[in-house]
């Protein structure tokens, strides 16, 4: 059972997109994430660095033919944080219709 836990770091729209995309994949190339999300290389690099520093994802560089290729994937901690965040969002939707502060129903992290 996943404990609902709102995650400020993941909740930023761009990072949520990245994490949601990586959660649906075993791994993804940097170029795949960049193109699918329509981000610039620098914007994506910055967000990946933030998530990597939090221990939520790993990046791997390898040589494919003449070209270097960077791929990334969520760590176990990243998958857990994402699942907890989604559970917190879903829990909030199950609450009565008035606007609610999520901290009243789910713990915050990090």
């Amino acid at each position: 059972m996943t404990e609902p836990r709102f995650n400020e770091l993941i909740h930023s729209p761009t990072r949520l997109s990245i994490v949601a995309m990586l959660a649906a994949a075993q791994w993804a190339d940097f170029a795949f994430v960049r193109d699918e999300l329509g981000l610039s290389e620098s914007a994506l690099s910055k967000q990946l660095s933030t998530l990597e520093a939090a221990g939520y994802l790993q990046t791997r560089k390898r040589q494919v033919g003449k070209y270097p290729r960077t791929s990334t994937r969520l760590t176990r901690a990243g998958r857990r944080a994402f699942a907890e965040h989604v559970a917190a969002l879903q829990q909030l939707l199950r609450l009565p219709a008035e606007p609610e502060n999520v901290s009243g129903s789910a713990s915050r992290s990090p």
Partner: protein
């Protein structure tokens, strides 16, 4: 960063997550060309088999088997797209149903070929593999259409 999160924000975020999952599933789906390539390879195998040159048939069969297996293992997880779909989304039944369906179609074509050969028809292997190729080209995309909603059901947020 917001200090509070309301239901609208949560609903938008949930929709956001769902869309990204769909995006990965769509981008990593087995491409149409896969079914045409496997179908064409099968047809070539049939034409070679009707040539009745055992050495050529053996080499072609081995090459076809190895190439199809390698291509299938590469394409099914979506590796050709720049991402590999999560095992959780594929579920246990996804790859098995693809491999099982392809195997069934190939065996059906072989059965047609042997039946035609037993009746003395000309070019039995070519006809049998043409049946297989047609079934792959038509049935492959249909199979994908069935699997896609199943993959979404295995996602972080199953469809409503």
């Amino acid at each position: 960063m917001t200090e509070s999160l309301n239901r609208d924000d949560a609903a938008r975020s949930i929709e956001h997550v769902r869309r990204r999952e769909q995006q990965v599933i769509t981008a990593t789906a087995i491409p149409l060309w896969y079914w045409w390539v496997v179908g064409a390879g099968t047809l070539v195998l049939g034409v070679v088999a009707d040539g009745r040159r055992p050495a050529v048939i053996a080499v072609t069969a081995v090459l076809f088997g190895a190439a199809t297996a390698a291509l299938t293992l590469w394409v099914i997880p979506g590796a050709g797209s720049g991402a590999r779909v999560s095992r959780d989304l594929l579920g246990g039944g996804g790859p098995a149903s693809i491999v099982g369906s392809v195997g069934f179609v190939v065996l059906s074509g072989l059965a047609v070929a042997f039946w035609l050969r037993a009746r003395g028809a000309s070019g039995p292997a070519t006809v049998g593999t043409a049946v297989t190729a047609a079934a792959l080209v038509v049935g492959g995309p249909m199979l994908m259409a069935v699997l896609r909603p199943q993959m979404l059901c295995h996602g972080a947020i199953p469809p409503r």
